[in-house]
Symmetry: C2
Subunit: 79 residues, 2 copies
């Protein structure tokens, strides 16, 4: 079973990577870019076959390792 | 208009970040993790209002800046 986790900085937390990308896009001539946020995506290949159990496990992985929940939010997709 | 870009290492390209996550998950007691790939997600807030035009622009951004197409693949979602 495949799972995909998105980890983004919470809104309000300064995102220097996103700002750098926005600046670089402007310099390359891309106008009309009003905001950029950069985050991580983690794709997991799990032996688990039950979707609900997989979601619970991946949520626990996020809490313990994948996200810093003080400044980052995460979302889990099971496919 | 919002766009989301996923940038992942192409399959076959070694992914040390993903390997590090897989190893750390194993050490935390999460069994049954068969593979981990880590990539980037970039969320763009665009002034453009036409979806097709936005997709074309973001694809060009990927080719020029956001992805290293030698080793990375990207996908664009317009929302």
């Amino acid at each position: 079973m495949k799972a995909r986790v998105h980890v983004m900085l919470k809104s309000g937390v300064l995102d220097p990577q996103g700002e750098a990308v926005r600046h670089a896009l402007g310099q390359l001539g891309f106008d009309g870019v009003e905001g950029v946020r950069q985050g991580k995506v983690i794709e997991l290949d799990l032996a688990e076959t039950d979707a609900e159990q997989a979601r619970a496990t991946v949520t626990e992985m996020c809490e313990k390792l994948l996200a810093n929940t003080v400044i980052e939010s995460y979302s889990v997709e099971i496919a």
